[in-house]
């Protein structure tokens, strides 16, 4: 994100994208593709499908840019949510299920496996240490919700946690992250 803001402000980038500026779009890809791909891959865990979804995501960024409204939030959040939604759709789709053994995916998230290590294989050195700060529940909660596509009610039901508690834990997790940056 730092690279993006050093050269061109988000405001200008959005303006250019809405004007269908091709170079601005290329700039968008250069600066955001890694992070977007990272999220997609984390959800799908498979290279080929992740690449496909990455392409679909960027195409959608281009085509749906008019839907983006700065008042509602940052550009990256908007892109992230699009990518994430596409990924989760794919995750739940026939294609994906036929390609992977879906049982394994859900099995990994059973209460028994709610521990610090396994699910999470960070790509960067230090991330693991950093995220130890989040306790097991908080981390898994974020992962479940954000990367596995569990809604808060699904989580509440699946893990027998009151809905209110789910909400506050999510907030707590995000607050911890905020301290880190």
């Amino acid at each position: 994100m730092e690279a993006a803001s050093n050269v061109i402000s988000e405001k200008d980038l959005v303006f250019l994208l809405k004007s269908k500026d091709r170079k601005a779009f290329e700039y968008l890809y250069d600066n955001y593709s890694s992070t977007i791909f990272g999220i997609i891959f984390k959800i799908l865990k498979a290279e080929d499908i992740a690449e496909e979804v990455l392409q679909d995501s960027f195409l959608r960024f281009w085509n749906k840019i008019d839907d983006y409204n700065a008042e509602k939030g940052r550009l990256f959040t908007w892109m992230l949510n699009i990518a994430r939604n596409l990924s989760i759709d794919k995750l739940r789709s026939g294609d994906y299920k036929s390609m992977t053994r879906s049982e394994d995916v859900f099995k990994d998230n059973s209460p028994a496996s709610m521990k610090i290590s396994d699910n999470f294989k960070p790509d960067h050195i230090g991330v693991k240490d950093m995220l130890q700060i989040l306790n097991a529940d908080q981390k898994n909660l974020l992962e479940l919700m954000y990367f596995e596509g569990y809604s808060q009610s699904e989580i509440s039901k699946e893990f027998n946690i009151p809905l209110g508690t789910v909400k506050t834990r999510v907030r707590a997790a995000m607050m911890v992250l905020r301290k880190l940056f």
């Binding site: 004007s19 601005a24 890809y29 890694s34 392409q55 790509d123 991330v127 808060q152 909400k167 905020r178």
Partner: protein
């Protein structure tokens, strides 16, 4: 609605994490629109999310980029390729809307850079001119000083010579030839003495060069008693005015230590002559 409570409820986190229903989202957006504190909180949450998401960053294979770019059209609507990017031209150019504003912005950037450039150029020129002026002024001061020195010297010399000529023409001036002693038989000097004004001039000096640390001194002898008339200039001169003397019989020059002596060293007598 209590802002603190709303923020602590965790709703905003869920909004950013895209966990709310359409109605709930609209509610949040409405509140955010009129509440800068809420908007700010949302912004912070978003940044935390970006920060978190960045940690999972993974480079996609290089060929994907081309695939992605090939999916978007080269040109849109009536715009040409040439106008496709501000990044190429390094200015905020956008085809279509707000053209006038863009030209204005581009023009103002250009003017700014142009004026900054010319300002720098002129400043640099001014500095150089300043320096040259300072040097010129210093030179002028030097010349002026030199000129004045020379002028003074000339005026002095002219006046000196005028006096000398006047003395020579005066009836009361005696001309005494000083001849060489055993030490320097070829040595000569001429002394002009005016008995009325008491002025003494020495001219036509023909003496061996005085060694370092030594200097010739003129004496007037009055009834055998030597009177110091001053040392001879070490620099060669045509005529030199010496000290006045009212009563004198003869003149002699001895070689003394530099600056002269109170009494003549008779061993070092070089020339002598009587009136």
């Amino acid at each position: 609605m209590n802002i603190e409570e709303y923020i602590s409820s965790g709703k905003l986190e869920l909004y950013v994490l895209d966990q709310l229903t359409a109605e709930e989202k609209a509610e949040v957006e409405n509140i955010a629109r009129t509440n800068p504190a809420i908007k700010k909180e949302i912004d912070l949450i978003e940044r935390s999310l970006e920060f978190y998401a960045n940690r999972f960053s993974k480079n996609p294979p290089a060929h994907i980029k081309q695939k992605v770019l090939s999916q978007i059209p080269n040109s849109v609507g009536s715009q040409d390729d040439k106008k496709s990017s501000f990044l190429d031209e390094q200015q905020l150019y956008v085809p279509g809307k707000k053209r006038f504003t863009n030209y204005l912005v581009a023009a103002s950037w250009f003017l700014l850079i142009f004026f900054a450039g010319t300002t720098m150029y002129f400043w640099s020129m001014w500095r150089k001119a300043e320096q040259r002026l300072v040097i010129a002024q210093a030179e002028m001061a030097e010349y002026s000083s030199n000129y004045n020195n020379v002028k003074d010297q000339l005026e002095g010399k002219v006046s000196h010579l005028q006096n000398y000529i006047a003395l020579l023409n005066d009836n009361f001036t005696e001309s005494i030839t000083l001849s060489g002693s055993k030490l320097a038989s070829e040595a000569r000097a001429k002394v002009f003495w005016n008995r009325r004004s008491s002025r003494v001039y020495i001219a036509q000096i023909n003496l061996p060069p005085a060694p370092n640390g030594k200097q010739y001194q003129l004496w007037g002898l009055n009834k055998g008693k030597p009177v110091d008339l001053g040392v001879l200039s070490k620099v060669e001169v045509d005529v030199q005015r010496m000290k006045d003397i009212s009563l004198v019989d003869s003149f002699a020059i001895t070689l003394e230590k530099e600056g002269g002596s109170t009494n003549p060293t008779l061993d070092a007598l070089y020339v002598i002559g009587e009136i």
